[in-house]
């Protein structure tokens, strides 16, 4: 023990605050190009452009405006769902039931209105309640039990898949719902959910507009509001978030309900553009949404990501799905393509972020 007694604490003064804008000088500014590349949205944007250019060359019909409108439409139906799925993923959770929930809400609206011969808007409203209810149930179970959301939503996925088929058969005696196109309010609802308009001789589906509006809204919420801050926090470290007063349970449950809302929206679009609903559909879609979010740079474990990345992710998927058709290839190749794109995107993102963030 060589230390002697001090009469005063050894550390007496705080370090002097630097005058003005002194930097600590340990981080060199990285070049703009590298900083841009380090953002996953930029990586996926380049990927989407690459896929687009590839199909421009491989499939000449893609060069037409109507084909582009079709591709964007395809992308929008994936993209509207990929947005809340991405937000949920940033919030640290996972929803496997999102694909079948789309069909559940469409079935609910269709059968409720048809069987009781009500105005279709009543069915639409009931379907909204059901979809939000499914989201709430998922979220509530996750925060109450603390179980991984993968397990909880795998459960609801299987339940909904079974219920969709069984209840539809029970009610209609068929695997599809009855045509509701001649019912009260149908035309009005179709105008809202499944309208299209012409721009320069090209039919544009309204879902494209919704998709882009929702994406802009999600980006704003994520980056510019308290709620967005909370989403990052609950996904990044939920215990820290709780300790500083973030309402963790509210944030998580509301994110699940947001997925429910989008499922309702897409479900309504399906219903009013095809008039009937096939009860067995939707299975496997949830993985497409999740892939679009991951390709778009959302961290599977939560805490990082964006809303704009999944837009490009969804565009890549829509592009491939339609591009294969325009190129006259066997559409069975679609899933294989998706797999390759997912792996490729994840690897490129990993490589880029490692190279670009290296100090």
């Amino acid at each position: 023990m060589g230390m002697t007694q001090h009469a005063e604490p050894a550390v007496t003064t705080p370090p002097a605050p630097g005058p003005g804008q002194v930097k600590d000088g340990r981080t060199a500014e990285r070049p703009l190009a590298l900083r841009l590349l380090a953002r996953p949205e930029v990586g996926v944007f380049l990927g989407a452009v690459a896929v687009w250019v590839f199909f421009l060359i491989a499939a000449p019909p893609v060069r037409e405006g109507s084909a582009m409108a079709n591709i964007l439409y395809q992308s929008s139906t994936i993209g509207i769902m990929a947005l809340p799925v991405a937000l949920l993923m940033i919030g640290g959770e996972f929803d496997l039931s999102s694909g079948v929930a789309v069909i559940t809400s469409a079935l609910t609206a269709s059968m409720f209105a048809f069987q009781l011969t009500l105005n279709v808007w009543v069915g639409v409203f009931v379907a909204l309640l059901v979809a939000l209810g499914i989201g709430f149930l998922n979220g509530w179970l996750v925060v109450r039990t603390g179980l991984p959301s993968f397990l909880i939503t795998l459960g609801t996925f299987l339940i909904l898949q079974g219920v969709n088929l069984a209840v539809t058969k029970l009610v209609t005696g068929n695997v599809a719902t009855d045509d509701i196109s001649d019912m009260d309010g149908f035309d009005q609802a179709k105008k809202v959910f499944a309208n299209s308009f012409e721009v320069g001789g090209v039919q544009i589906k309204i879902t494209i507009i919704y998709w882009l509006v929702f994406a802009a809204l999600a980006t704003w919420v994520l980056l510019r509001t308290k709620y967005g801050n909370w989403i990052f926090a609950v996904g990044g470290n939920k215990d820290s978030a709780r300790a500083v007063g973030v309402p963790v349970n509210f944030t998580k449950i509301s994110l699940f309900m947001l997925v429910g809302f989008a499922a309702w929206f897409v479900g309504m679009h399906n219903l009013f553009s095809f008039n009937t609903v096939q009860s067995g559909e939707g299975v496997g879609q949830e993985l497409i949404y999740i892939s679009a979010a991951v390709i778009g740079g959302c961290l599977l474990t939560g805490g990082a990501g964006s809303a704009i990345g999944p837009v490009f992710g969804a565009f890549m998927f829509g592009m491939v799905q339609q591009g294969i058709v325009y190129a006259n290839w066997n559409p069975d190749w679609f899933k294989a393509f998706l797999g390759v794109m997912l792996l490729g995107a994840v690897l490129i993102n990993l490589w880029v972020s490692r190279t670009a963030t290296r100090r």
């Binding site: 550390v11 926090a233 990044g236």
Partner: protein
């Protein structure tokens, strides 16, 4: 340090603490204790926290340090004795109540969200906003500016507040958490083993900010099991052992050696020396004499 920015948050006591009268304590425990069922985790603990002073609470694992901070931070209630804040007895039921009284706790592992930028972490849970409801949005400019100012006031200079806080070192993270607590109106800061997981240099950084917080007028409760760290910044030392207060001494009354011996438990060290002498390769001749150890510890330790 400018008072306009922080004054509204009540972080700084404008008047010098009235320690001469001995009643300037913000937080005081009088013979406080806590039992969980038939287990007495803490008994007869008296402690005073004055503004601009660092009160160190030392103790080995299981000595009751955690129970003590849980009582003060409002996670648990005491079952005996008295707990006074500003000379009024209190019984906190939630950490929120403690926070409202200006008692903030910085936990070692619960400080930050690693992937979020420094400024977002600084304001997480108490974000500044502007605009009416449907377009109410984060006031990013103001938050960045304030966070930068507050960190600089604590002597923390960062290049880029946009960098994820996870890229900072453990000590810097702890310091941001301390600066945050200071900004949001803490009068008493409880630091739960802030140096436990840190290297020598990082510990030094944290100790500097403990001193900085003290100089800004906060009462600091510094929980540690490292007497060297405690002696660096402490004004008053309390050593807990097996749930009771073994030592309560001010800086003038104790040397680092005595503190270390109290902390380690002199008699236990003597026993350890005896055991080590059975092991080949340990030169027990160089270790202090058994008598020195036990005398310094007051001969209270169990063997």
């Amino acid at each position: 340090m400018t008072t306009e920015e922080t004054g509204t948050h009540g972080a700084i006591l404008a008047d010098p603490p009235d320690t001469a009268a001995g009643d300037g304590a913000i937080v005081e425990l009088r013979n406080a204790g806590k039992s969980y069922g038939n287990i007495r985790a803490l008994h007869g603990v008296s402690l005073k926290v004055h503004p601009s002073q660092v009160t160190c609470v030392l103790g080995d694992n299981g000595a009751g340090k955690s129970t003590l901070i849980k009582i003060i931070s409002g996670l648990h209630q005491h079952t005996e004795g008295e707990f006074l804040v500003d000379n009024a007895p209190v019984h906190f039921t939630t950490p929120r109540e403690a926070l409202d009284k200006g008692i903030a706790t910085v936990y070692q592992d619960l400080a930050v969200v690693p992937l979020m930028p420094v400024w977002r972490n600084f304001f997480l849970g108490s974000e500044m906003t502007k605009g009416p409801w449907p377009v109410r949005r984060l006031d990013i400019e103001r938050m960045k500016k304030t966070a930068d100012e507050e960190l600089r006031n604590m002597g923390i200079v960062l290049d880029d507040l946009e960098q994820p806080i996870g890229t900072l070192s453990g000590g810097q993270r702890q310091c941001v958490a301390i600066a945050r607590a200071v900004y949001f109106g803490a009068r008493v800061l409880i630091l739960d083993e802030p140096t436990a997981a840190l290297g020598v240099k990082q510990s030094g950084v944290v100790l500097k900010y403990v001193a900085a917080a003290r100089d800004r007028g906060l009462g600091v409760i510094f929980i540690t099991h490292n007497p060297h760290h405690a002696y660096m910044v402490g004004d008053h030392f309390s050593v807990l052992r097996l749930g009771t207060m073994e030592l309560s001494a001010s800086r003038e009354q104790i040397t680092l050696e005595e503190l270390t011996n109290h902390m380690a438990g002199g008699a236990e060290l003597a026993a350890l020396k005896h055991e080590l002498s059975q092991v080949r390769g340990v030169d027990t001749e160089a270790l202090p004499e058994e008598g020195d150890l036990t005398v310094a510890a007051g001969g209270e330790g169990k063997s």
